[in-house]
Amino acid sequence: MELMKRFVLIVLLILSTCKGSPPVDENKPRQPAAQTIKIGVIAALTGSASAYGRSIVNGFELAAKEINSKGGITLELIIEDSAGRQEQALSAAQKLINSNMVAAILGPTLSTEMRVVGPLAVTNGVPILATSNTAAGITQIGRFVFRNSMPETIGTPLSIQMARDKYNIKKAAIIYGDDDVFTKSGFDTMKATAERLGITITTIEKFQKGQADYSAQLTKIKADAPDAILCSALFNEGAVILQQARKLGIDVPVIGGNGFNSPKIIELAGQAAEGLIVATPWFSGKPDKRVQDFVAAYKAAYGTEPDQFAAQAYDGLYLMDEAIRRSGTSEREKVRDALASIKDFDGVMGRFSFDADRDVVMAPLVIIVKDGRFQLFN
């Protein structure tokens, strides 16, 4: 009997998916349903990428609240977790496209996930806007794929060049994570830039995900006495590398990849973050009213300062809102065309346009950590 009961349970479990789970409607629209437009979000809320997924979803939710309070149209966000894994991202995308019938998708968090979700969005004709993918070749997946996150190839060369000019850097060491697409493509850009600028590379050191001890690599770097360290890592690993480097007595400037660009790195690394240089599409210290309002609202809602992931997500939903208002419909093809036509959009990240390849056109800033906060570098 017990066996049978358990079997019935399993069958029920399987059947319950076939019916499709109900959409998550936290911000249920007060206005008539006709004006409600469903937007799907794929974010890594569990697993190792959840630090980024959380900021991203915060950015979307804050923007949705503001947009919906303005009236006119109501955007209903349907948020799905991908756990940072391709299969899960693909299943989530299929659910959003086919079960929830969303007008467009925001996300997924990782470039690797976009590699599988992007082609699906293209075959289904669903506009998809990446707000956190920085690897090369993302929007080349197809005509429905957009991004508003700055690829590594735009920011990093500028930061290296400016640092070289200021500190007269002749030789530099590189350290990067070799088993992650984000840090690996950041490294490719760094190496190419260093070679182009005639900076001698003293050594190239690698590390792997989840490593906590970088002393072996850093001791080796120190022995070559470079003028600077180029480091492609995500901010969690980055903070530890900075701390351990400073502890070993390496006090040369560190130029970080896009992954370093988070106020969290100052929180985690403390004093060790001083002198860190990064390129950013987003700078919270900008004396612009829009930027300061966003920072204040974000702090009030989530208790921390927004990072670039939150800012990119926030602007991302506003871009989508703009496209939907312009096209006056939730039809996927028309939303795509409206999105592609956006030029000189003023967001918290500054003036933004899509190029012919639906990729980012914007001027990055270079910032440095000084006195415990990010300041403009010049």
Partner: protein, 294 residues
């Protein structure tokens, strides 16, 4: 540079050794791999982090808190996921392996909910104190880590081989049925083993936090993997093997990164396993019988 790298390697090795001790004890007595041990270490590290960074507690209190928290977790682990399996009269050798995997997934995600994603700074007053010896920088933390790991290993060894408690544990490890006939309370012996192993794990968590000034909810996975590798080539159920294995791996990883290619650092553990097992299928310090057991 070599001297500095050796110190780096020994520090890392000391931490690995303490992690491996937890695995080897549980395997010795229960004959199973506790796949949740890495997550127990992680919880210990977080308990220590909350005390050290949050309350600024002194070092002894940080260790005590972490050890108690990890021990309590070990007790729950045994009570909820191991003991019920022994109650069933079904011989399913792999069931405890999977149920501890379940616990590890559970703990990792509970920690994510409790503490939040990403790294959390682990602040101790010790972390910046250092002295120079013949041009080599030695941090006080590194000495403390090495000292504590050797002390822990020695204490465990004495407890297992010089006390009555340890004798009954070893009896259960040898043959639990006969031990039971001879009047050893099996459940009690196993509970003591799992709790003690978890307490060692809690201490290991604090050592990691102290050494690298950061803890994260993801740390259990990679540290667990290293611990597993060490007990395999050190030899299952051997305290000396765990310590030697830990030190060998710590040094190997550091020297590979220093003199060859840091991209192969994480694979070092498995190169060593393969090499050792091809020559000695029972591990460096394992008894022949251990390898022949299913």
């Amino acid at each position: 540079m070599l001297a500095q790298q050796l110190i780096n390697g020994i520090t890392l090795g000391g931490i690995y050794a303490v992690v491996a001790l937890g695995y080897t004890m549980v395997f010795g007595v229960l004959d199973i791999i506790n796949m949740a041990h890495g997550e127990v270490v992680m919880f210990g590290a977080f308990a220590g982090m909350l005390l050290a960074s949050g309350l600024g507690a002194p070092l002894w209190a940080v260790f005590a808190g972490a050890v108690i928290a990890a021990g309590a977790l070990g007790y729950l682990l045994e009570l909820l996921s191991l003991r019920p399996l022994r109650r069933r009269r079904v011989t399913a050798k792999l069931a405890p392996l999977i149920s501890t995997i379940g616990v590890s997934i559970l703990l990792e995600n509970v920690a994510l909910k409790l503490f939040g994603p990403g790294n959390h700074p682990f602040k101790t007053p010790l972390s910046d104190m250092k002295f120079s010896l013949a041009g080599v920088d030695i941090y006080l933390v590194q000495m403390v880590i090495l000292g504590i790991s050797l002390m822990l290993a020695a204490a465990l060894y004495l407890w297992l081989y010089r006390t009555k408690e340890g004798l009954s544990l070893r009896a259960v490890a040898e043959d639990s049925e006969i031990a039971s006939i001879l009047g050893v309370n099996i459940d009690r012996a196993i509970t003591i083993t799992v709790v003690t192993a978890s307490m060692a794990g809690g201490a290991a968590g604090v050592l990691i936090g102290m050494a690298y000034s950061n803890v994260s909810t993801q740390m259990g996975v990679s540290i667990g993997l290293k611990g597993l590798a060490i007990i395999i080539f050190g030899g299952m159920g051997s305290v000396g093997g765990a310590v030697a294995g830990g030190l060998i791996l710590g040094l190997a990883e550091t020297l590979i990164a220093a003199y060859w290619d840091s991209g192969y650092r994480d694979a070092a553990a498995f190169f060593i396993i393969t090499l050792v097992l091809l020559v000695r299928p029972q591990g460096l310090f394992g008894r022949d019988a251990a390898a022949m057991r299913h």
